[in-house]
């Protein structure tokens, strides 16, 4: 018996340890332990409850059925109306070799209790607990429960305690109905939600509810602090306010009953409230304030500075408010962020419309608004024709650049980069295959957004000044670029900027992956430099393994002239297409190319279009080659 017990507690401890790790890994941790647990369970004759009972797959609940009754009988004596049971400090519980949870699953104890107390007043309160309720949003949770529950009820004092959510109901039939729907509601990930019901004392907020005269006093005092023109209510430092001293009550806003009363007054007297100042009121959590979404939904400016809020998760309780301005400075949570940017992003998660935080305007977020007027940027000249001079400049630039790049000493690239240039390297992330070994050399510099988890590392890999850039370029293995394979897309040209993309292949001529061919795409944003050359401002490189086709076409000896034709350049396949089309249709190559381009390089479609036009006589004479 003793041995069995020890084994019990060990397994339980294992399980609980994984449970404590919050965040994404916890689910996996639980599942892993669940597998080992399952195995052991069959062997074990002892029954015990692990902390994660609410996550049991349904088929195992049956196994617990018989256990229920037994456990219930065991614990009848221990039953008390006020809970120690729901203590989540599992270690203590399980050391006692028992679990409270099963107690409440059987009908017996509750009924027994009801029998005992039938003589009492009907104002019996019940505490409803949703273990792990913390991960559910309040509105979703309550709506789900209300819709599943056969008896309508009014939840009182909803709040989160550690991992669970709880609230009170007054009605016994509601309590029963709620117990019935335990494990009936599925959440988004298909876990069944457990609901535990116990009797309880009157909730504090009800017990300490303000009497009507007190409410009246509160209302008058609040009226004095209300600015009609701004629709602003200033409730800062209420505790210390001499103005409230004459009242019989202490308006301590961190007490549930006071917050509830305050919100009630707001709802009745200041229905269009725009701005609420709760600064310096020793608020430790925002559970009480969460009702503001129903009571004062118009609030757009909220000041919670100089309180005792420990984590941004508190904001989750009020995120239904469409806040535009928020003050949070002076709360412990502000110190948990490494930088202003991380702080701002975290807050913005809850309030996407936020434009001012702690008195500072925030940079705007991305929107795509189709109602915006047409944007004109006078400095950008966009044209479909790339001038020959521009093309020449780019070709020359690329020739020089890759000459140095392939030379073995990339140090002289310093002259090509601007002082404040940026460079980054990306390699595709293939979830199922491990990194191809030939890309190994580049892997330590990979900064594919999807792949990197360590934000610090990510930042370091964006090389900023020209010196950093060139030193990292020098680290890359020696290469041989096949300029013959280059395709250049001229992307944007203006007085200040010239952007183009280069697609091509290169070979690694030394190192671990000698001989392997890679394909790359490199985007350059350049500005004209003093000596009519181009100065690189941004350099974004994407490297992947070359396909078989590309590898076959890559030559080892570079020919220095890349091809760059009007508009976009043609690939090998496209050139072949043009040739064949030209032969078959009898049109000159330029016309054939145009026809193919207009039909998105769909050969068959282009042929059909050509045939149609020809039949309609729409093609001019000069399109056709002279037949000599």
């Amino acid at each position: 018996m003793v041995i069995g017990y020890r084994r019990v507690s060990k397994l339980v401890i294992l399980f609980l340890v994984s449970e404590d790790n919050d965040g994404g890994s916890s689910r996996q941790g639980r599942e892993k332990d669940w597998d080992s647990f399952q195995g052991d369970f069959r062997k074990q004759t002892h029954h015990y409850q692990q902390g994660g009972y609410e996550l049991q797959p349904p088929h195992l609940l049956k196994d617990y059925g018989y256990m229920e009754k037994r456990e219930v009988q065991r614990y009848q004596v221990r039953h008390t109306p006020y809970d120690v049971q729901h203590n989540k400090r599992g270690m203590k519980l399980h050391k006692e070799g028992c679990s409270d949870v099963t107690v409440w699953r059987g009908r017996k104890p509750l009924e027994r209790e009801m029998e005992n107390t039938q003589d009492e007043t009907t104002g019996r309160w019940f505490k409803i607990i949703i273990p792990y309720g913390r991960k559910y949003e309040k509105t979703w949770l309550m709506d789900s429960i209300q819709s599943h529950c056969s008896v309508p009820f009014t939840p009182v004092e909803f709040h989160y305690v550690k991992n669970r959510a709880q609230f009170f109901v007054q009605d016994a039939s509601a309590a029963y109905a709620l117990k019935d729907i335990s494990y009936k509601i599925c959440d988004a990930e298909n876990w069944k939600i457990a609901i535990f019901v116990s009797t309880s004392a009157v909730p504090y907020s009800v017990r300490d509810k303000l009497a009507p005269e007190e409410m009246e006093q509160l209302k008058l005092a609040m009226r004095k602090r209300y600015d009609v023109s701004q629709k602003a209510l200033d409730l800062r430092s209420l505790l210390y306010d001499p103005g409230f001293a004459h009242l019989d009550i202490d308006i301590i806003l961190n007490r549930r009953n006071c917050m509830a009363a305050t919100l009630q007054v707001i709802k009745e007297n200041f229905p269009e409230l725009l701005s609420l100042n709760l600064r310096n009121n020793k608020l430790y959590q925002l559970d009480g304030l969460s009702d503001i979404i129903q009571m004062a939904p118009t609030v757009k400016i909220l000041n919670l500075s100089k309180n005792e809020l420990n984590s941004t998760w508190e904001l989750d309780k009020i995120k239904g408010l469409k806040l535009e301005e928020l003050w949070l400075e002076g709360n412990p949570l502000c110190d948990t962020f490494q930088s202003q940017l991380t702080y701002v992003s975290a807050i913005r998660k809850y309030f996407p419309n936020l434009s001012r935080l702690d008195g500072q305007d925030l940079p705007p977020q991305i929107t795509t608004d189709i109602d915006k007027p047409d944007l004109t940027s006078p400095s950008i000249k966009e044209s479909c024709e790339r001038s020959d001079a521009m093309k020449k400049q780019v070709v020359q630039f690329l020739q020089q650049y890759y000459l140095i790049y392939d030379s073995g000493n990339r140090q002289s690239l310093l002259g090509a980069y601007h002082d404040e240039a940026c460079f980054s390297l990306t390699i595709p992330y293939i979830p199922n295959n491990p990194a191809p070994s030939s890309l190994f050399e580049y892997f330590k510099d990979n900064r594919n957004m999807k792949n990197l988890l360590d934000p610090n590392l990510r930042f370091q890999l964006l090389k900023h000044t020209k010196h950093d850039i060139v030193s990292s370029l020098c680290v890359f293995p020696k290469t041989q670029h096949d300029l013959n394979s280059f395709l250049v897309d001229m992307w944007l040209q203006s007085e200040k900027m010239l952007c183009f993309c280069v697609h091509g292949v290169f070979k690694e001529v030394e190192g671990r992956s000698q001989g392997s061919v890679h394909a790359f795409t490199r985007t350059f944003i350049t500005t004209p430099a003093s000596d009519s050359s181009l100065c690189i401002m941004n350099d974004e490189l994407f490297v992947r393994e070359a396909t078989l086709n590309e590898t076959q076409r890559a030559v080892s000896i570079p020919v220095p002239t890349p091809s760059c034709s009007t508009g976009s350049t043609l690939s090998q396949e496209q050139q072949e297409m043009v040739q064949i089309f030209s032969i078959q249709s009898g049109m000159k190559p330029q016309w054939s190319q145009k026809c193919l381009e207009d039909n998105e390089w769909d050969y068959i479609k282009a042929a059909q279009v050509f045939a149609t036009f020809k039949a309609q006589g729409k093609i001019p004479e000069e399109a056709f080659k002279q037949i000599s």
Binding site: Q338, D374, L375, I427, M449, L492
Partner: protein, 118 residues
């Protein structure tokens, strides 16, 4: 997630938004401009009239850089599938600019790979 520098934050949000719009309803891509085609209306028209009904993008890689004139250069590489065509690789570059309090794509370059990515 909150630790990203701001251009990555904006860039990756834009890319996510863009491809979501593109895959679901191309007519909503109001503020995208391409170098070869000027004017919002013309662009939306062109995009809407591209000869496929259904399209799906899958992003393999993306990267973002700030430019000296406070724009953001964003790159997305991945695969797409249009109607019943085979899966093709594509590469797209965006230049995002901050105009009157919103980030807008002023330039966009799209290139389809005629052979598959690995």
């Amino acid at each position: 997630m909150g630790d990203k520098p701001i251009w990555e934050h904006i860039g990756s949000r834009f890319i996510q938004h863009y491809y979501q719009l593109f895959d679901n309803d191309r007519t909503q891509l109001g503020t995208v401009e391409r170098t070869a085609i000027q004017g919002k209306a013309a662009i939306v028209e062109k995009l809407s009239s591209l000869p496929f009904q259904k399209i799906q993008h899958s992003i393999t890689a993306q990267d973002h850089q700030p430019t000296p004139d406070s724009c953001i250069l964003s790159m997305a590489v991945g695969q797409l599938k249009a109607d019943e065509d085979p899966i093709m690789g594509f590469h797209q570059m965006f230049l995002l600019k901050n105009i009157s309090d919103a980030w807008v794509c002023t330039n966009d370059m799209f290139r389809l790979a005629l052979h598959n990515f690995r």
